[in-house]
């Protein structure tokens, strides 16, 4: 079993001596074997000849100064006793620690790289079921939040600063005041969380205050899914798809390849069945707006969100899940074809319903899966890991009513920014300010912190102990990477404070709690859990649950028919999610996977609707719904459903730092609690002016050029040979360099069949390679710095487009056009075939970029790293140069990782066995593969020899080292 180090521990755990707990790269972790001991690169370990008097005095002075610093802020928890470094610990040596990060309540296991105590890179934990080694953009970008210079610091009550001890004493006093009536006037508004520790603390709070009430709120809560399960099974169950088993998948507005939760694992399972052959799956998606999942679909049926139910009902009738009713419209050709395909794949098909869809659709999906024999095969049902209480916007309305009725004296809020995310028409801020003691735990100043009487700075998840569960129930321990950079606390400590245990520290709580679970063995198990990052055997078992078809039918019949007219469709945003990442510059600058818009959200609509309403891209419009009006700018999205306007949530923040304030429009102001996802009756009127969007891509057709190639499975059988023209040697007057004698010949393969365009690679690369954020104005000018981009092309009709994503970074041409034009030899070739960029030699003529046919070079037009906050400096990867103004840069194939692996291999006396580039490591679809082309057994070598392999712009003779694998789609011949 793979093991990871435990922070601050210098001793190997008992029984793990042979397992080698310390490992220095993820490759070692992958191998699970250790050859290198506490060795280090040659020359690095030579001690100074003698400790001179001068050195000694310097060290003495430094220690004294540092000792004084430490005295300023005594640590509350002993988590970083780095006074003595861990055994084998070396300055300059990166360490990797397993931890977990919960998003919308579901934890994803991570491995975080730490340099000298500074976490610098987030990776997925291969041992964790929700990650499998991959990580998404949100997980990656969470690191930036850790170092956010605008994070809150300390604790304030009505503007007055409180020390930690005082805070605990005050909360204790406050809690004691609630003892009298059993906590009847004490309320908690919490983010839904699957943490067993927090559940235990809630029980203990409840034990002390029997009348206390816990409310849960998350803007993207999946209440309708729970309700659907209640209809179908009579109880709440989580449907957990097993895409590795599914041959035909119908997604009813389920964007299962994106977002928090399980998307990383689902993407992997889905992508593994996208290679041509008998095992290839087929995906049907019925959805209003084009999503990542819709882009990956073989057939996409665009329809208004409210029309999905009718489609689902038609399919359900055809597969025999519910009896057809006399008044039903005749099923469409599409529904028939889908139903036939699902029936052909009995037990190997799968119907998924998206969280935006009403309960009836979820119930129908359950009924269909039961009728198709998929239950237990391609979908398993488990007890939910999140609290069962509803957590949607309606919760806030009820809470506000209680506040208005004067029933709440103390309200503890750990849910993210409920004032901002409150449904339209509810002034939760006003209600909050009426609560005598509104205690808000927040990482950053926001709309809610302005109205709460107590504001407590929240620690980042990488700063505090905790635990969490993934959707399948597996527990992961949240291990801190660093002491809190700012005076702050966590939800665990805050809950504990209400049982007078706030000073115990989350670590003690966690350990005590798990001791209660694991018994005396904990000390042995604990270290193993921390090393592996998961608590084994905690997954929820699958349960059998019969579907109550009559209840499903009743629910479907009771569901309202879709209303005509323009429909508002609210959607989680691909970058800021529900708005919590609005202050995260990496995510703000990440292009939306579909529209390629950065630093904005847009009211998205279809080309036909835009034409009907006389709108063009960027046109400002006023959106009116249920008497409320919001002004937004429109963006035309090919493939969007007609008469539907998608309004991404999370923008238009009024109280945010300079990153997120005033970016986009606030769709929450139109979102009603009764219709949180789809709302008919939207009125759209053109307003004056246009809005300038900053997109990373302005042209979405391939102009008939062979760039991102795709074939249908049928075409592929016939015309696989067409790719011969796009690969192989090309005529040249120059003798190609022979790299076959080298130990290594680095290369990459990108499988377009697998890529969904999720853009996790972009953020991973930004994080790994110290890539600066340039801001909206610079993006609009075409100066984005990201080294890897995901090109998105549309083909076919704008109404029903074919969508294809193509990640493009430097392809490391063997005959690189950039190299011969550089006047100062600042970009040269290594003997292993890397196209290297010598930053300190570059004078910035930009000729290389002009001559790059792939336009992957990025130029520092300004000093983009001008003024770094002290915490932002801590973010930098010390293995990668921070580039200055006037210098060209581009993808290096993560040369620092190659060199690190080379050092390790040399120390071990062997050859590099595997290196992963940052993009590859993040990619949940395993679409990016990097490695040694001179090793015939390597995966990248196999892919370079694949029948689908082709070279981008092959005819130019650049001989790129990055090969692409053509995308194969698997459309249903019945729908041709």
């Amino acid at each position: 079993m793979k093991t990871l180090p435990i922070l601050g521990q210098s001793r190997q755990p008992e029984g793990a001596c042979s397992e080698r707990p310390l490992w220095r790269s993820l490759e070692e972790l992958e191998r699970g074997a250790s050859r290198a001991g506490g060795e280090f690169p040659p020359g690095a370990a030579e001690p100074p000849a003698e400790l001179s008097r001068r050195n000694f005095v310097q060290l003495l002075g430094a220690s004294a100064a540092l000792a004084g610093l430490a005295a300023c802020q005594p640590p509350r928890d002993k988590i970083i006793p780095q006074v003595r470094s861990p055994r084998g610990g070396l300055p300059g040596q990166a360490y990797h620690y397993a931890t977990a990060l919960a998003l919308d309540g579901y934890a994803t296991g991570l491995v975080v790289t730490s340099h000298e105590g500074r976490p610098t890179k987030v990776e997925g934990n291969p041992a964790h079921p929700a990650s499998l080694g991959a990580s998404g953009a949100f997980e990656q970008a969470a690191l930036l939040d850790l170092y956010d210079p605008l994070r809150l610091e300390g604790f304030r009550r009505r503007g007055q600063a409180l020390a930690w001890r005082t805070l605990l004493a005050e909360i204790s006093k406050l809690a004691a005041a609630h003892d009298a009536d059993g906590g009847a006037r004490l309320r908690f508004l919490l983010a839904p969380d699957a943490s067993p520790l927090q559940a235990d603390l809630r029980r203990r709070v409840q034990a002390r205050f029997p009348a206390v009430r816990f409310h849960f709120f998350a803007p993207l809560a999946e209440d309708s899914a729970r309700e659907g399960s209640r209809i179908a099974f009579g109880r709440v169950l989580d449907a957990r798809p097993r895409l590795d088993q599914a041959a035909a998948i119908l997604s009813l507005d389920a964007d299962f390849l994106a977002g928090p939760g399980e998307s990383l694992r689902l993407t992997r399972d889905f992508a593994r069945r996208r290679e041509p052959g008998a095992s290839m799956n087929r995906l049907y998606v019925a959805e209003p707006s084009l999503t990542i999942t819709g882009g990956a679909a073989d057939h996409r049926f665009r329809m208004k969100g409210s029309e999905v139910l009718g489609f689902a009902r038609a399919v359900a009738g055809l597969v025999g899940a519910v009896p057809a009713s006399p008044g039903d419209p005749a099923p469409t050709r599409q529904a028939k074809a889908v139903a036939d395909d699902l029936l052909r794949n009995r037990g190997r098909s799968l119907v998924l319903a998206g969280p935006r869809q009403p309960a009836a659709v979820h119930a129908l999906a359950h009924a269909m899966n039961a009728a198709l024999g998929n239950a237990g095969a391609t979908v398993v049902y488990t007890a939910p890991v999140l609290p069962e209480a509803p957590a949607g916007p309606a919760v806030l309305e009820a809470l506000a009513r209680d506040v208005e009725a004067g029933q709440v004296d103390t309200l503890v809020v750990t849910a993210w920014n409920p004032v901002y995310a409150a449904p339209a028409g509810l002034d939760l801020g006003a209600a909050l300010s009426k609560v005598p003691n509104a205690i808000y735990l927040a990482a950053r100043e926001d709309e809610t912190s302005r109205r709460a009487s107590w504001v407590l700075a929240a620690s980042h998840p990488f700063e505090c102990w905790g635990d969490g569960r993934s959707r399948d129930g597996t527990v992961a321990l949240q291990q801190p990477l660093t002491a809190p950079l700012r005076e702050s606390t966590s939800a665990v400590d805050l809950l504990a404070a209400f049982v007078d245990q706030g000073d115990k520290g989350a670590y003690q709580h966690l350990k005590t709690f798990w001791k209660g679970r694991a018994g005396a063995d904990l000390d042995l198990l604990w270290d193993r859990w921390l090393q592996q990052g998961v608590v084994p055997g905690t997954a929820e078992p699958a349960v059998q649950a019969p579907v109550r078809a009559d209840a499903v039918l009743a629910a479907v019949r009771a569901a309202p028919a879709p209303a005509p007219g323009l429909e508002a469709a609210f959607a989680p945003d691909s970058r800021v999610l529900d708005g919590r990442f609005a202050g995260n510059a990496w995510l703000q600058e990440l292009a939306d996977p579909v529209t390629k818009i950065t630093w904005d959200n847009a009211a998205c609509l279809s080309p036909a609707t835009a034409k009907r309403l006389g709108l063009e891209n960027g046109r400002r419009v006023s959106l009116a719904l249920r008497g409320r009006t919001v002004e937004a700018a429109v963006w035309i999205v090919p493939g969007h459903a007609d008469d539907s306007v998608t309004l991404p949530l999370g923008y238009g923040r009024a109280v945010e730092g300079p990153i997120g304030r005033g970016v986009g429009f606030d769709a929450y102001r139109l979102r009603h609690a009764a219709a949180p996802w789809f709302d008919a009756g939207l009125a759209l009127a053109p307003a004056t002016g246009t809005h300038a969007f900053a997109t990373t891509q302005g042209h979405f057709t391939m102009e008939g050029r062979p760039l991102a190639l795709d074939f249908t499975a049928a075409e592929w059988k016939r015309s696989a040979h067409e790719l011969e023209e796009q690969r192989g040697t090309s005529d040249t007057i120059q003798e190609p360099v022979d790299y076959s004698k080298q130990d290594y010949k680095w290369g990459m393969a990108i499988d377009l069949s697998r890529c969904t365009g999720c853009s996790a690679c972009v953020v991973a690369c930004q994080e790994e390679n110290n890539i600066p954020v340039v801001g909206k104005e610079q993006v609009a000018k075409g100066r984005i710095m990201q080294w890897i981009r995901v090109d998105r092309y549309f083909a076919g009709k704008p109404e029903e487009p074919e969508v294809i994503s193509q990640p493009v970074a430097c392809v490391h041409c063997e005959a690189a056009p950039c190299e011969y034009v550089c006047p100062v030899n600042a970009t040269v070739h290594s003997d292993e075939g890397l196209n290297e960029m010598v930053y300190n030699r570059c004078v910035g003529t930009r000729y290389c970029s002009n001559n790059c046919p792939y336009k992957v070079r990025r130029f520092n037009f300004f000093e983009y790293r001008g003024r770094l906050a002290p915490t932002e400096k801590m973010l930098m990867n010390p293995d990668v140069t921070v580039r200055s103004r006037g210098v060209m840069e581009k993808c290096t194939y993560c040369v620092q990782r190659i060199e690190r692996a080379r050092i390790d291999a040399r120390v071990a006396g062997g050859k590099i066995e595997s290196v992963q580039s940052a993009c590859q490591q993040a990619c949940p679809a395993e679409a990016i593969v990097f490695g040694n082309l001179n090793d015939p057994k390597s995966r990248v070598s196999r892919l370079h020899g694949d029948a689908r392999r082709y070279d981008l712009l092959h005819e130019l003779g650049t001989r790129p080292r990055t090969a692409y694998l053509a995308r194969i789609k698997n459309p249903n011949p019945d729908l041709a």
Binding site: E703, R789, P817, Y820, P823, Y854, R885
Partner: protein, 466 residues
């Protein structure tokens, strides 16, 4: 003595206008042609003030660029070169007329070059100075510009001799050096004349220093002639090489729209075209205000118009062949670039280019157009504009939409781009005004020689007729 010279000029070359109007004596020529040095014209100070203010604009633009970075310009990815290189190529091109007039026409013994060569050489020099500024300031890190020169550093790092930018460095610096020497050598006898006619001791000393002790002896003239011819021979290949090498910046790349073998001759023709236009633009007002009508006659202007017609036709041929080859090669990327020029977002600039460079010079088929001073002036301005737009079209439209449509972009200049461009125009004017103020704008010595030659030729012709 005077009437025969006029007659000789009149019968010369199909009754063209004379090269020298009237029959001035050496003294009259001396007085007339040096007058602008001794008696500055009214308005010089005003023009100088305007040019100085404009030079301030250049300094502002350059300072902002150096302080903040290239980001102050409109350049981006994919259009990483824009005004910087457009202006560089444009100014270098303008410089070509000087060398052509001085060197090639000298070697071909074209007498009409005499009155305008000094003027054109000065223009060359100043234009190349403007041009040289751009490669320097367009660097991301201009403080390391010396890395482009082969310097024996201890690291043993040399420039990349495969890069056309390095060839540029050699070509342009050679060109600047030779142009300067040529101009200065030609100036020596006139500087001596100025020294001799000085009205104050300071002037006498200053001009004396620069005249390098010229006394006008036969030996001096012999050495001077040989030196002048040698420099002419040296700079003749430069006329062809400099702009050929500048064109390699584009032709050597693989970018559709740049990667074209026709570029070297096409660039040279364009350079001469724009250079003559600029000489005309400067000469027409200077001739009027400085009173050079006697020595810079209609004949000169007409000849320049003819050269413009010829080079304009060459440039038009270049355009035609570019488009033809783009179609004939069957290369879809190249075909797209050329159709994008006419149909894309920059088509207005493209058609302005065609109008200025292809249509306007056609007027010069007619003698009336060649001798109409006002039309010549307007046409020369239009050609200047046209050649600038040509460089814009070549650089920006090729870059902004290349191979991968995903990385297509647009370019728009910023105020800094405009400041630097107009600033170089003003700095150029400033240098030119200084030149007009302190140095004879017409090669007086050569004009006097020409007058004698013409007189002798006439005398000889009369004897033969008898």
């Amino acid at each position: 003595m005077t009437p025969p010279a006029t007659a000789a000029a009149r019968t010369d070359a199909l009754e063209q206008a004379p090269l020298i109007v009237g029959t001035p004596t050496d003294r009259v020529l001396n007085d007339e042609l040096l007058d602008h040095v001794w008696n500055p014209k009214r308005g010089w100070k005003i023009l100088f003030g305007i040019a100085l203010a404009g030079t301030g604009l250049l300094l502002t633009g350059v300072t902002v660029t150096l302080a903040r970075g290239i980001g102050m310009w409109g350049n981006n990815i994919p259009v990483a070169w824009a005004y910087d290189i457009i202006n560089f190529v444009w100014w270098i091109g303008i410089g070509h007329a000087g060398t052509l007039i001085s060197a090639i026409l000298l070697l071909f013994q074209q007498k009409w070059r005499t009155s305008i060569n000094r003027f054109a050489e000065a223009m060359t020099l100043f234009a190349v100075m403007q041009a040289g500024l751009f490669p320097l300031i367009h660097l991301g890190r201009p403080w390391f510009a010396f890395w482009l020169f082969p310097s024996p550093a201890t690291l043993g790092l040399w420039p990349n001799f495969k890069s056309p930018l390095i060839w540029d460095v050699f070509a342009v610096s050679t060109y600047l050096t030779v142009s300067f020497l040529f101009w200065y050598l030609g100036l020596i006898p006139d500087l001596a004349a100025l020294r001799d006619a000085s009205r104050s001791k300071a002037q006498r000393i200053a001009y004396g220093i620069f005249a390098l002790g010229w006394r006008g002896s036969a030996r001096h003239y012999q050495h001077y002639r040989i030196g002048y011819l040698i420099l002419a021979a040296l700079s003749t290949p430069l006329v062809l090489s400099v702009h050929s090498i500048v064109s390699f910046d584009f032709a050597v790349s693989q970018l559709p729209g740049w990667h074209t073998t026709i570029f070297p001759p096409y660039f040279v023709a364009g350079a001469v075209f724009s250079g003559f236009a600029m000489v005309m633009t400067l000469m027409i007002p200077a001739r009027k205000f400085l009173g050079f009508e006697r020595v810079v006659t209609e004949r000169h202007l007409e000849n320049m118009a003819k050269v413009m017609l010829v080079t304009g036709l060459m440039v038009s041929y270049g355009y035609l062949m570019e488009h033809f080859i783009a179609w004939y090669s069957g290369n879809a990327y190249e075909a797209f670039v050329f159709s994008n020029r006419a149909n894309g977002p920059y088509r207005a600039i493209y058609f302005a280019m065609l109008f200025c460079n292809v249509v306007v010079p056609q007027a010069f088929w007619w003698r009336k157009a060649r001798t109409n001073i006002a039309w010549l002036f307007i046409a020369s301005l239009l050609v200047n504009v046209g050649m600038w737009t040509e460089r814009f079209i070549i650089i920006v439209t090729s870059l902004h939409r290349d191979y991968l449509p995903s990385s297509w972009g647009m370019y728009a200049p910023t105020w800094v781009d405009w400041s630097i461009f107009t600033g170089t125009l003003c700095f150029f004017s400033l240098l030119f005004l200084l030149f007009l103020r302190f140095v004879p704008a017409v090669a007086v010595t050569e004009v006097k020689e020409l007058r004698h030659e013409l007189a002798h030729a006439h005398a000889g012709g009369k004897e033969a007729a008898h």
